[in-house]
Symmetry: C2
Subunit: 342 residues, 2 copies
């Protein structure tokens, strides 16, 4: 077990100073061609690699990005990480992932753990609990300390920073419009509780589309799901009475559950019920029938977020002109599959 070799050891072996070794390896013209060659050869032989930790301490930057997300087993978040990772790696950054598990406390702990010098900046999506509490002090604190933060998807207006989102309202509007165009008139929305920022926006988009099309707006057709339990009975009742002919679901899971329920009740999708879901994930592609979705390009969101963060990190030096935070909107598109085919 040969420990990693350090500058000090090389210096000793070669009987020169540490400075000389360091400069030689960085190919400084200060050092004679001869010495440089000698040192470089030796370093290569012993597979010298500078210690990242020492460099981080010296440079006061670590070339790593902290990601804090609610869950990694959600396909959407996994794709975002994938996107972040790509561009981070291309710029020589590595990526640390922490999970809040939708818990405020864990989100705070993670941030604090990583904020002590180990990260150059953060990319994050808020936990449900954080959105519910509306407490963002852990984030503003980090920003105040000079670490840039980029939020994606689940963001808040109460923190000033770069953000990347989709236009949830518009996307919901378009999806509903699509359902209307196909001749549907009784369109339900199955969504989450309002404190989840994206849930609220999608509800707004739904409502606007309904009204713009002069369809009767009916509160009862909006189902806000707190827990997945009684949800089935709620939606079942609507289907039973044929009170609805289409559904916009705020995620895949709701959509697939509805479809299964419909088929159990003898309703055919899409003939009796058209379904569109938010978030284009695995389920939509492989369920039967396949599900039409509003695709949020997670990869692209991740890439964009990483670009914004790295941009800020690399221009931070001349820190005037700050405070011009941007919000990037990633376009969504409707992927039409069997659940809406006529």
């Amino acid at each position: 077990m040969k420990r990693k070799v350090t500058l000090k050891q090389i210096a000793k072996e070669l009987d020169v100073s540490i400075s000389t070794v360091s400069k030689s390896l960085r190919d400084s013209t200060e050092i004679s061609e001869d010495t440089r060659q000698k040192v470089q050869a030796f370093a290569k032989l012993y597979n010298y690699k500078p210690n990242n930790i020492a460099l981080s301490l010296k440079n006061r930057k670590t070339k790593t990005i902290g990601i804090i997300i609610p869950e990694i087993v959600h396909h959407f978040f996994a794709t975002v990480i994938s996107g972040i990772e790509q561009v981070a790696n291309n710029h020589g950054y590595s990526v640390v992932v922490c999970l809040s598990n939708e818990s405020f406390d864990k989100e705070v702990i993670n941030m604090e753990m990583l904020a002590n010098g180990s990260m150059d900046g953060f990319i994050m999506s808020l936990s449900k609990e954080t959105q519910y509490k509306g407490d963002f002090h852990h984030i503003t604190e980090v920003i105040n300390q000079g670490m840039p933060v980029v939020m994606f998807d689940r963001v808040t207006n109460e923190v000033l920073c770069d953000k990347v989102i989709i236009d949830d309202k518009m996307a919901a509007y378009d999806a509903v419009q699509n359902l209307v165009n196909m001749g549907n008139k009784k369109i339900a929305l199955v969504t989450t509780v309002d404190y989840v920022s994206v849930g609220k926006l999608r509800t707004d988009g739904y409502t606007k589309a309904i009204l713009d099309n002069d369809l009767p707006f009916n509160e009862k057709l909006i189902i806000k799901i707190e827990d997945i339990e009684n949800f089935e009975s709620q939606i079942a009742k609507l289907m039973e009475n044929r009170a609805i002919d289409a559904v916009l679901a705020v995620n895949e899971l709701f959509a697939v559950t509805i479809i299964k329920l419909a088929s159990k009740m003898g309703l055919k999708v899409p003939e009796d019920l058209s379904v569109i879901a938010f978030t284009d994930g695995i389920i939509s592609q492989y369920s039967t029938p396949t599900i039409s979705t509003v695709s949020q390009n997670g990869i692209k969101m991740g890439q964009k977020a990483a670009k914004m963060l790295i941009d800020r990190l690399e221009t931070e030096e001349d820190d005037d002109a700050e405070e011009l935070y941007r919000t990037e909107v990633i376009e969504t598109n409707l992927i039409e599959r069997e659940s809406t085919k006529r």
Copy 2:
């Protein structure tokens, strides 16, 4: 924007030495009660947090674990990360995730990037290309430098280190046995090419089960999938001729594709064709019919791997008794769903 406060600044403000501040904060009895109180109060006020990078350099350990996996968008890997993250966090470690994207080069680059002092150890699953090439020098090198490595799922005998796997052979055997018990006689195996370690083992288990049950062993019923293209036609032909009555698929994706194909051809699952898949993921739970699976508990694998790594890290000090590497086998279980219901 108040930069983070350092010991030095506190020392200056309070007009004591840095040593005194440091000791006070660590509650050393060397320091007078008075001074300690004063320093601690001040530190609290300014929200002092020690700089992790400096600590890492000093202690020569970073309290972070590097994870290198082929893909994060595979549900199985996401669950493993989730498991690792849990126990890592509980032990004060954070977790860095790098993706090899099934590429040997990227795996090597990632390892080298992280091996320069930033990680205390690694948890990894080999990329396909790495398994194909059989080149593991990047891993042995890291181990030689004294960094412990734990491999999971896609492992190799050629590297000596701790490992956590499932008993792929046994699991395949049991799955086939289950299909046999249900009266199936013409059981196909749909698997990957042999260099993927788990693929090979599952094939072995399948073969043994077939032979043990005195069923005719037929090479043609083993389909090794290189690319997903011509695969459909291969399996379609078998189904057409009713040459098979059951399938063991080596992953969910194969299974769901087969099921869709079968239903397109007018075959009913499970009546005409029973299907079991390896890996219990999202697809199996939500496809129609739901798919019976051999569940590999990714969470548990991750937890176990993290435990093994941390164990080694925290006992490393007294480094005798090394080299006693263990391989932990995580039990699998068969989750019976609609695709095998009689």
